[in-house]
Subunit: 468 residues, 2 copies
Amino acid sequence: MTDILDRLRSAVGDAHVLTADAEVAAFVVDWTGTYAGRALAVVRPGSTAEVADVVAACHEAGVAIVPQGGNTGLVGGGVPDPSGEEVVLSLGRMRSVRDVDPVAGTITVDAGVVLADLHTAAEAVDRLFPMSLGSEGSCTIGGNLATNAGGTAVLRYGMTRELVLGLEVVLPDGRVWDGLRGLRKDNTGYDLTQLFVGSEGTLGVITGAVLRLFPATPRHATAWVAVPSVDAAVSLLGLAQSRAGAHLSTFEIANRQAVDLVLAHLPGASDPISEPSDWYVLVELAGAATEDGLDDALEAILGDAVEAGLAADAAIAGSPAQRTALWALREGISEAQKVEGATLKHDVTLPIASLATWAADMVPVLEEVLPGIRPVTYGHVGDGNLHYNISAPVGGDDALLAAAPDLSRAIYDSVAAGRGSISAEHGLGRSKAVAGSSYKSGVEVDLMRALKHALDPRGLMNPGVLLP
Amino acid sequence: MTDILDRLRSAVGDAHVLTADAEVAAFVVDWTGTYAGRALAVVRPGSTAEVADVVAACHEAGVAIVPQGGNTGLVGGGVPDPSGEEVVLSLGRMRSVRDVDPVAGTITVDAGVVLADLHTAAEAVDRLFPMSLGSEGSCTIGGNLATNAGGTAVLRYGMTRELVLGLEVVLPDGRVWDGLRGLRKDNTGYDLTQLFVGSEGTLGVITGAVLRLFPATPRHATAWVAVPSVDAAVSLLGLAQSRAGAHLSTFEIANRQAVDLVLAHLPGASDPISEPSDWYVLVELAGAATEDGLDDALEAILGDAVEAGLAADAAIAGSPAQRTALWALREGISEAQKVEGATLKHDVTLPIASLATWAADMVPVLEEVLPGIRPVTYGHVGDGNLHYNISAPVGGDDALLAAAPDLSRAIYDSVAAGRGSISAEHGLGRSKAVAGSSYKSGVEVDLMRALKHALDPRGLMNPGVLLP
């Protein structure tokens, strides 16, 4: 053990190999607090060459590696197991923007660049990097790529995998694959880039990426809309899509329970619509600086929606501050739910057409498992993706934890029966590795294992994550 | 040999195992006429189960398989080698549209569906399947997926890989992977779909797919524009992008030599602009049925372009027939060049900013190798993708063939030096398998070989294609 630690210190410098409990504490527990592991060391390389050196050293010594970005994942995929034998490889010191090319529409970055800093770098050349997440102030692009992150801009711009053109990856044996190409078209072999995106650190360590930039959309029209049902929200989505076309950039849903938690726990949050509603939608149109009329278009859509019974009322942001306040109602849910107490998180996709029925049918099934549960339902209805989280019955945190396996199984069974996905955007990590495989065919699991074995035959890259 | 033929006949029926020379002729020579092989048999299964049976039989017997769609590929990837020992597996009988869901925006099809028929099926529900190729009347979606086809709609909608949500694949051992999911978001493991897209039949046989549909765009504004240079075309592209935004659906370039060939060889073709120009652009805006003003927008853009010196003149289509005529000038080039005589084809991408310089610098380099060569240059300038084809000096077909290796090497060296791609959209096939690997790093080739070995350890799927 001393040998490998010495080797790591010579790779990255003594100051960047952390072993003291106080120093490693922030790296071994995940954001949700559910996964608390231990680490042989936390290593913080400052360059691709140092990452390669660290990975080669671990490969030689047979030591497992857990790559980590901003440690904001929700499925325990970025923290070590309890053995104390794994090395956490944190990319947090690699935060250079290597190149920005607004004409080609590309930006080349280190894996450790924080998502919000990437936004800033794109804005500096009048471009947009669209990916937007609640954790964007601390998550890193390397983590976003490793987990194929989603967020609130998927409806218009797609998942992370649709935003990447090329990657630089340190392979499990320490060799570096330089796939940093910014070409839109390159048909010269297997798509290695897409193989690494979403592989959750189990096939190698992403150290750099070429990403797509889009025209800036500084104009916004934003509304918080009270809708009677999920069905109405889906119909309103169709109306907004046909009327606002490519300008529609956000279409998020939240139930009243979710909004109540935000109003209760987030300082300064206030309800923009006086009459309470079972469901709400956050809708936003975005356009170029020259594009006028977004507010008018949104008002017209919402007027027609009220007339058609798809909406009861709506609050349109009249200023940037009001826009921020409306967004806070949506972005604050996860944090507010954490304050409220124990939560059982699910991140499911279903075909959009069956979303409403599914959500309605689920409640009595879960009530039967644990009376008094509070479904806090929100998410990206435009993508068919709900964060179907269960808060404990009031005062019943322990009961929720005891019933968790049964509740999750009921939800996953129902999702699988509807040909949905049990992880829309969070990935499998440690928390869903077993479930992920159990809902797949044997052929599919075999294929995944064959790929894992081909790239990481010694099984040292993030073991126990993604594949059980 | 009799054994395997009997086994194949029992799998698909006697009528669908072709062995007579006259019957197999159309399946063993590629569209360009460059690759003429022989086959043990051409097998034409009618269902996924029959494909699986055929592949299992070949796997047991150790017989290699060449999957084939519409046999319109340009790099010899869909025809057998000269050994006479390979089985051609033609998907042409599998042409059912299995499901269309306009609300979810998905269509599920057999691999053998012809691209034009897929267009028709989408139009029937007022939707668009955007991929558009010169060969769309005969190419199949399975071939498009296996080669990650490009075409004239990439600028707006992306390559084939961006249009697919799920696949059904018969693996090299005959097992079927059912990945026919139509979800926009599904983060439950490695992206198997993207691994098979673009793998050119070397990892398995694609038998079905779930594809994305888009809102229909029946309104068009189309112009043929005389531009002074590639540089001017790139600037015009920037202007059109900032002014027409998401409506810009086509931006194609062609040099005068290319247009001359079309005018000489295609019946009914006529030059819409009287004064000859070195370069031309085909530009098209497309919108929904309710969207007026596309013609006005295009006219305004072109007016400004003429004023800024980016264009000399332009012809705007005033009717659907005129639109078809303008498109024929672009789509007819490949056919016209075939009639003219020997052609050396290249399909390269470069960063858009360096495209003009690259194209200009290339001519004297090639002239030195073979005086009198005629560069017929056209393609998808919006994607940085040129079809940089060389027609022989007049009467010099043999000289061109003799100089071909030197000419191609000069082009590929220059593309590699500019961090471009030697195959933007045609794939590697047989013709570029060696070159494809030689311009990649050893690490990248090793990665590709590891994947090939993991999925097809016996090397029976399209051997010699993609990887040498």
